[in-house]
Amino acid sequence: MRRRAVLRRGGLSLPLDLRAAAVVAGLLGASLVGIVLHVGVGEYPISPPDVVRALLGLSTGDENYYFIVNVLRLPRALVAFLVGAALALSGAILQGLTRNPLAAPEIVGINAGAGLAAVTLIVALPSVPAALIPPAAFVGAVAVAATLYLLAWRGESSPIRLILIGVGIGAVATALTTIMITYGEIEQVSQALVWLTGSVYGRSWEELWPLLPWLALFGSLALLRARHLNALTLGDEVAAGLGVGVERERGLLLLCSVALAAAAVATAGTVGFVGLMAPHIARRLVGPSHGGLLPAAAASGGMLVVAADLVGRVAFSPLEMPCGIITSAVGAPFFIYLLYRSADAK
């Protein structure tokens, strides 16, 4: 049962899924707690109340806190959240478009394509500014999505076929990335390597700012198209019969998905399986309607990466584990479970 309220005034009528709203609020609250804990840990531990005070600009016992919290540590936690949200949105859109619960940008090779383009830029042209990495990653992601579309999307291709071709394309992109790394200069290569494992280590406001406009633009575009995505999940024929401009809407939504994944990869490398897991969590919580599913997926994805980065920093201290390794450790078995279930259903 999904309860909803409707705002109606004049010709305006907008439904609000109350349950989804509550779930999103809950997930955002949990993420906030995660961010506060995340900011508190480190070589110089700060208690959660002090973190909150520093975040709000109130006075704390130590004047270094303000700088440590707001300048050094907060951007990393925020980047983790935003990267997770972007990957999750991308995955939720892709799963809806393909009507395939296994689809996710990291699985069908979109992240690998973005990674290849970004590494190429880092290794070949080390002097380019960081702001150029997202557009480059975007080009790589679009190239993979286009190839995938041509090879695996036409007609009613089976879910497994799409995944297999995607995995293949991803493997090629990864191999090319390895070649780039092998022949690159050691300095750029080590930078690229850390980044490739999927890490928000050392991310500052400088990396956060270029991510924001992409997220805001394509995230809200996707949300505005949730209605069309809902119709598309009923299949092309039903959607066309309902009056959806199928090719146009699919193109726009695919663009959103690819752009969001690319922005995330450009910022934090390939943080694995978030785009796969978060939409499933969200669907469990709010159901398959994208008006509620997309925000819930974004919040789940953000929470996942914040939590993964927190675990990566705390659990193996003094070593630090990149968040991408943590998400993959959880996500890979989950993917196998989904594969198993989907093979069972066929």
Binding site: M1, E237, V238, G241, G243, V244, P288, S289
Partner: protein
């Protein structure tokens, strides 16, 4: 309710049932032609069944009538206007189509599915108006799905699921409904349930219904008009009595059958007794 809506300029559907017809229609996929220079007319306000053997192009014809595919030749006309010259949204408000065995995403509830039928009536600013809500409730009531409205589709029986899809098509409030094999995979009682529902929609609301049916006896019983497809064209079209003949069964369905009058309704009933005796033994288109 309806008059109020009209005063407010909310009811776009024309009061007269639309006339749907095709002329010189040629349809195909890639390098195959399925239908060639076919002409059909759908009588407005009546129930039409399209019959023919597997793969003869029934679904293809329905797709073309619903503007889901572009003809290679000829045109489909809705009220005299070439259907591709009309805005997508307008077509979707006047023609509803239910494809053969559609699939819903996991977890989607009956009510959520029915609400999708409102798509062509909605816009970004008007996503859930009072008339949307009313149309969905009506559709669920007519299909007797109100009691199951909050159940996910994947927990329902085949018959209930089919009724849920029909409620989506009803919520679309189109005066013409095209349904591709709405009774396939249903047991006899559920088949009759769906056919009776379509019969009521036609007799009580005057909706035009076009459906693809496999069972000739059901088609004869529940439709006013029948179109039999064969070899890429129309083999016969007319009343059930005119269409359901031993020749049709022999030429189109490749069976020998007796046609008797249904003792209850007087409508033709076919009783097959063997496969067509073929002198050459070969198959034809």
């Amino acid at each position: 309710m309806k008059d109020l809506g009209r005063l407010m300029g909310k009811v776009e559907a024309p009061p007269e049932p639309a006339k749907l017809r095709a002329e010189g229609l040629t349809l195909g996929y890639d390098d195959t032609t399925v239908i060639e220079r076919l002409a059909v007319e759908v009588p407005p306000g009546r129930i039409t069944s399209v019959v023919g053997p597997n793969g003869c192009g029934k679904s293809t014809l329905l797709r073309a009538l619903a503007r889901l595919m572009r003809p290679r030749g000829g045109s489909v006309y809705l009220d005299g206007k070439e259907i591709f010259s009309l805005p997508t949204r307008e077509v979707a408000r006047r023609l509803g189509i239910l494809p053969q065995s559609p699939e819903a995403p996991e977890g989607l509830t009956v009510r959520e599915l029915a609400a999708q039928g409102r798509y062509p009536h909605q816009s970004w600013l008007s996503q859930w108006s009072a008339s949307d809500e009313r149309a969905v409730e009506e559709a669920l009531r007519k299909t007797v799905m109100l009691g199951l409205a909050d159940r996910p589709l994947d927990t329902l029986s085949g018959g209930q699921r089919q009724r849920a899809w029909i409620s989506m098509a009803l919520a679309q409030e189109t005066e013409t409904l095209l349904l591709d094999e709405p009774t396939t995979f249903l047991d006899m009682a559920h088949q009759l349930e769906v056919l009776q529902l379509l019969g009521r929609l036609n007799s009580e609301e005057g909706r035009t219904v076009v459906m693809v049916l496999h069972d000739l006896n059901n088609a004869a019983r529940y439709s006013h008009h029948m179109i039999a497809l064969h070899g890429g064209g129309v083999y016969a079209a007319g009343t059930p009595e005119e269409v359901v003949t031993p020749e049709l069964l022999r030429d189109v369905f490749h069976v020998e059958a007796d046609i008797v009058a249904d003792p209850r309704t007087g409508l033709p009933l076919c009783v097959p007794y063997g496969l067509r005796r073929h002198p050459s033994g070969g198959e034809e288109g």
